[in-house]
Symmetry: D2
């Protein structure tokens, strides 16, 4: 089948490669001519403008847009001017599903189909295949079946994925792609997928931190009148190799998952994670998932907490922490102290009003 | 190698089977004679008392205890009376790691080794192998290496687990078992493993609920003066097949995991989950993980929220909800209403003080 | 000063009463003629239609709209047809601040001022005064100063509120009303106020539940192979009078607050809260506060958790709980049991994979 | 009545002052002689050793211990040696209630009473009175009634606290002190009180942060291919005076509370909170409250989240954030970037796998 690809970044380029391996013909365009040349060298048909890309495709055309979120709207608008009725635009990025609803309605006026496709797999997708969550009208989605089938991982015989016990075989989900519903449904499912990913990542990270700090009873704590010592240091004497724990969980455990695989790889390469500052970005998907949960009335403490953890990792909690320090200063004359500022004593309980008030040691 | 197994429930029996497949000799005991007979028929050496089990083992003996948590202490005490110096007891259940520390110290007085082994894998472990997290003294753990190696999944060539990129090959973690540290370290790591499992499960469950409720804009909402209608019902018009979503995520997605595999299986068997009431038990591990986080000073909002979600699933939030209803009744004369009681209107925003106060419709 | 009041529910009527006590002239309208008559009997000028209300006011007119959120838009539209340039509409309800921005822009085209006023105080405001958070253009807000001053509590000499130490006297905040900013700012601040209220209420409710359950060690627990008993029942032997605790906290404690006052009143009237089912409504404000936090990137775990607690109080967690039960059923053959279903055993830790697998009691 | 006070820090000294104002005779001791002299100058009877303090009291003696938590045990042990049967020790600090249970049992062997008394009020208590939560045997607590009555705020006529509507007058709670139950009950209730305080403080702090950041739409955002711009900057254009908001909430609002009073005072003194670094200490009480909630099976997301916020304020989240950064680096080649590191762009949504993969701008 023939497909135009607009945007040849890492994911766009790998999608093209996977499609060409599957025997499809790809016409490719990017603002960066070098990216076009590279794929042309691998067999793709180069186009040096959107217009040329459209020209080189036979109708009904299929154009996959794989550009940064901020550029999707403009790209789609330009394509709409060049395409004809019954052509199809696929947005394979991480657009907000509400934009899909608007865009598909606009394009429908010209008879152009619009398909939203949440694409998961990252840099590993070229070999592993990409999980596809698709939204749009039935005709357009059905027509593209050969494309989905090639990009998706397939039924997993070679990927080590066994059939789901008890499931009636059939449908495309077992091949790794799914038509989820009308416009926006693909990006909606991908959005929530990313929300779950946030929660899983945070669960793993919290757990590994609890294991990492299992040695807290071994650390020297400042002894002063303001701190409550760890009551049972004898229970926190473990120095556990976190990297090896991640590795062992890869096999046979209940938490076995691709995210644990990645964690093991990261820890194998950098056991102390020195390369990382710990400022965790959040993409729109996590925020949008929380907004959807709130509007639907679904209690989603875990996903929300994982989003907030990313905010805090970037110090967006600073103001509210200052407010709390200021309150404490008022009600007990507590001032932030060296003890409070020390990073070395996570387990020491710090002062509260009574203790502080009696900080002059007394009575033996 | 020779091993005694005390406790032939599903997990104990499957461990015996896996060990026998691997060429080990197992002496087996259970309070239920039928369980002994069943395994004897498969080749195990039957013992009809702890004393007989100990007798049938050559020293230094290895006895694996796989009994409910409430029975571990008593069983270990009885075994201690029967065993000799240099023998080893393995606790393969989900004991609290603090009990391991106490028990190993007691047994050390008699020269008996005590090894704690967190065992993950559930009913699937017989074929897939069990992930083993081990604590105890070096000698005892090393001596049992043939046992660990047989029970664990192995390096995964046949399980579809690829080597971790960048990891220097070697060690046992890549075989699926790990000596984590001294007494209690195995159960500590297993405890946290289960805490992570709680978080992952809750993340998946929340996400699927957000997808399930993507149709909230389609539902009829009670129209009354007390409720704020969903502002944008047009964005919540999706009726998405949750079972198929779980299935598609099994292949190539970032959330791919054994828990998603299980979810897909559960939904394939019972798409509306009618068989389940939704009362989610919590085992000690989840609670203990939170206690450890608190004592270590590790912020663990996700794991804590997932534990609390289990509490709420069993209605343990009832009292505090009544307190809130009572407060609301005080400050605005809000009474719980049919609208509030309705389960059909998750997205309707309910009354607050102002609205309630003006519930008599007014002004056109 | 002269003011028209549209909407004579509990709050609208009490605002009128407070204004009349302060010497203002109120023209009143409601769709319920009896409500009009009642206030007319107390000295208000009755109007039997919006048109009549407008007629009876001298320009520039001030019309306060105090109707349920769902009716604000329609009421404002009708008023806009009747009013003239330089007249002012005040929305005293709990509208979404984004609607204020839109409405004020629309009305500005006709030269009509639009003021949004978040009004806190509930049924107690008639005597205590209402806290007012105001948004809108400077002229309109300034012109209404006599109205704000009468409705607000005043500087608190008689309300027992002492001046804030260190604050330079002046401004209106010390009188209990504040011009927060341009259109929407009043409702924005009121929205967040309600979000904080959610968090405070949940904190009190959680705490009282912890006190209520301090007797958990006294309760009989089912003894079975699947449950971990409470490790230290001796620490949970308290039967504490929750109502008296709320009462004592009213005086001199750090948590002293109006919400604790209300809690004490509710518990005094109904110590076991038998009148309440515990289905806690949520108004738009709580949801909107969370949406704002997410869009601003502010980590707000406490307010979010309190909103989610309200969702769960209304069983909106049911589906996700079923998903978790279904997963557990898959990985260990766990079925929901009577023990899990029992409400009487909050502290019993329930089965997990290992225990369940070995539920046949074993080994003495 | 006669009382010995051990520990003359701010709170111990103020308790003595309040007791002397009420006509009681106080014998005072501290390791710091200057503290003794200061109070002697105000009329207290000085003692220069515990032995002297005990000598100067007539039996049955009452000795109030008000020393830092770490010193309570030693002080009580020394006093036990000096006191006689039927004497009473009062621990007025923030001891863990489990220690009370142990200490009271030990002292009971000598016939000495032990009373635990949670004392709230901070530096304000001298004038306002202290809220007292008391545990211990009936006789000892009853005998001390004149002491409690003097220290507590009283029924509030002069403190502006009105009687709880509907409450049957009587009991001591309305005077601001309460015998909560046997040993430990006082500190248990005080512990939970502090847990609630954590939750309330965090709710206020989060809310004020949402108000502070209501100007996020006004800030310049970095424009790059990796960030999703704030979708609706027009809704976040408010520059709101946070100090004035706290002030206005003091009067007539639902969130009116002593904590809001303190917040207003703090913001009046330092509107930008420049004096604070935002490292918020946590005392034992917050942690213990969470432990109790977990052991009782009470879902307490709000209190737990507020405790975790304090952990994160002291950077105890660093390791888990690094784990998350490391995972992201693995699955999409995401590296932490200047954009991610920027503190100026809280509302910019950062890159995820797709966007990153296509960071070379493409397609117009």
């Amino acid at each position: 089948m023939q497909l135009g690809m607009v945007g040849l970044g890492r994911m766009g380029a790998n999608l093209v490669r996977r499609l060409m391996r599957g025997g499809h013909e790809c016409v490719v365009y990017d603002v960066d001519a070098a990216a076009i040349d590279a794929l042309a060298a691998e067999g793709a048909v180069p186009a040096h403008s959107l217009a040329e890309l459209v020209e080189r495709l036979e109708g009904p055309r299929n154009v996959w847009v794989m550009v940064p979120a901020g550029y999707v709207g403009g790209t789609v608008d330009q394509l709409a001017e060049l395409l004809a009725a019954d052509d199809t635009i696929i947005d394979g990025g991480n657009s907000y599903y509400r934009d899909d609803i608007a865009r598909s309605a606009q394009l429908a006026e010209r008879g152009i189909h619009y398909v939203d496709c949440g694409t998961s797999g990252g840099v590993w997708g070229l070999d592993r295949g990409y999980c596809l969550m698709i939204g749009g009208d039935d005709d357009a989605v059905a027509r593209l079946d050969p494309i989905w089938r090639t990009i998706a991982p397939g039924d997993g015989a070679d990927a080590g994925v066994e059939p789901t016990p008890g499931r009636t075989p059939g449908g495309t989900a077992q091949e790794g792609y799914l038509h989820c519903g009308p416009s926006g449904a693909g990006h909606f499912v991908k959005m929530v997928h990313n929300g779950i990913e946030y929660g899983m990542m945070a669960a793993v990270a919290e757990g590994l931190s609890i294991i990492k700090n299992a040695d807290v009873g071994l650390r020297t704590h400042a002894v002063d009148a303001e701190t409550t010592p760890l009551r049972n240091p004898e229970f926190y004497q473990y120095e556990i190799d976190v990297a090896e724990v991640a590795e062992v969980w890869r096999r046979g455990s209940v938490v076995g998952s691709w995210l644990v695989d990645l964690t093991a790889a990261a820890l194998a390469a950098d056991p102390d994670l020195d390369a990382f500052g710990g400022r965790v970005s959040d993409s729109g998907e996590g925020r949008w998932t929380v907004l959807a949960a709130v509007e639907e009335g679904v209690p989603a403490n875990v996903i929300q907490a994982s989003l907030n953890a990313r905010f805090s990792s970037r110090d967006l909690n600073d103001y509210q922490d200052k407010v709390q320090s200021a309150m404490r200063s008022q009600f007990g004359g507590h001032h932030e102290t060296a003890a409070e500022a020390s990073h070395e004593t996570p387990a020491t309980d710090a002062v509260d009003e009574t203790r502080r008030a009696t900080q002059e040691p007394a009575g033996g």
